[in-house]
């Protein structure tokens, strides 16, 4: 089956990104396809590449990034949610004349339409809320 996931919780604060990751990994184990993982609300902070967790804890944004890279999965961050919360890619950073960007590799900023599209295209859309 084709799945998409939506993640709304900030990493390290809410369990929702951990749950979404465990669920996503199990989807691939069972041979399902992940069409898209969409980050909305405080979930956009999952894409912040500046996170430095303690050494005995997992780096959540790197974990998503490796997972997506290895399995060719789209990680889409809602651009409107991300801009107001200060998660920028290179192009938004330039457009708004900021001196840097902070988005982790393999994450893409895009519109909320990508969440609706994920709902249309996927057999199942599973939300991990906060």
């Amino acid at each position: 089956m084709i799945f998409s996931l939506a993640v709304y919780g900030s990493p390290y604060t809410y369990q929702s990104s951990d749950s979404a990751y465990q669920f996503a990994r199990e989807l691939l184990n069972q041979g399902h396809e992940i069409y898209r993982i969409f980050f909305y609300h405080d979930g956009v902070y999952n894409a912040n590449r500046l996170t430095i967790p303690p050494q005995d804890e997992i780096n959540i944004s790197s974990r998503w990034s490796s997972f997506a890279g290895e399995n060719n999965i789209e990680l889409v961050v809602c651009v409107a949610s991300a801009l107001r919360r200060g998660v920028l890619d290179d192009s938004e950073s330039r457009r708004y004349e900021k001196d840097t960007h902070n988005i982790e590799q393999n994450f893409t900023l895009s519109g909320l339409g990508q969440l609706i599209d994920a709902g249309i295209v996927s057999d199942r859309l599973v939300t991990f809320g906060s």
Binding site: H41, L112, L115, I116, D117, I120
Partner: protein
């Protein structure tokens, strides 16, 4: 074409979920048939007379009032949620269909995709 049900369950301003639900409704309405359900504290999203200027937050409740212009025709509010909170239809900024819990179960059943906020 798949139909979407969007549910808003949170009160306005305390968290941004209500605003984000509204954005999702507007976006979805451009692509698919959308129903919107105000449930639990979500019914407060459409309470009349909101004025968030006094807390320096943007007031988005007027947009809920004009959703019909965006082809969002199926707008529902939970009867039991209103009743628990001492509210009636007259307290709301827009005409909505007030529905029972059984009808809500039916809405969950008949829409292909359910997004909750």
């Amino acid at each position: 074409m798949k139909s979407f049900l969007i549910i808003t369950r949170r009160s306005p301003y305390g968290t941004s979920y209500g605003k984000e639900a509204l954005d999702a409704v507007l976006m979805a309405s451009a692509f698919v048939p959308v129903s919107l359900l105000f449930l639990d504290d979500g019914v407060f999203q459409i309470k009349q007379h909101q004025d968030a200027d006094c807390i320096e937050i943007k007031d988005y409740s007027p947009t809920f009032a004009v959703l019909e212009q965006y082809d969002v025709k199926n707008i529902y509010v939970s009867a039991s949620s209103l009743q628990h909170r001492g509210l009636t239809e007259k307290d709301l900024v827009l005409d909505v269909e007030v529905i029972s819990d059984a009808r809500i179960a039916n809405l969950l059943d008949t829409n292909a995709v359910v997004l909750s906020f």
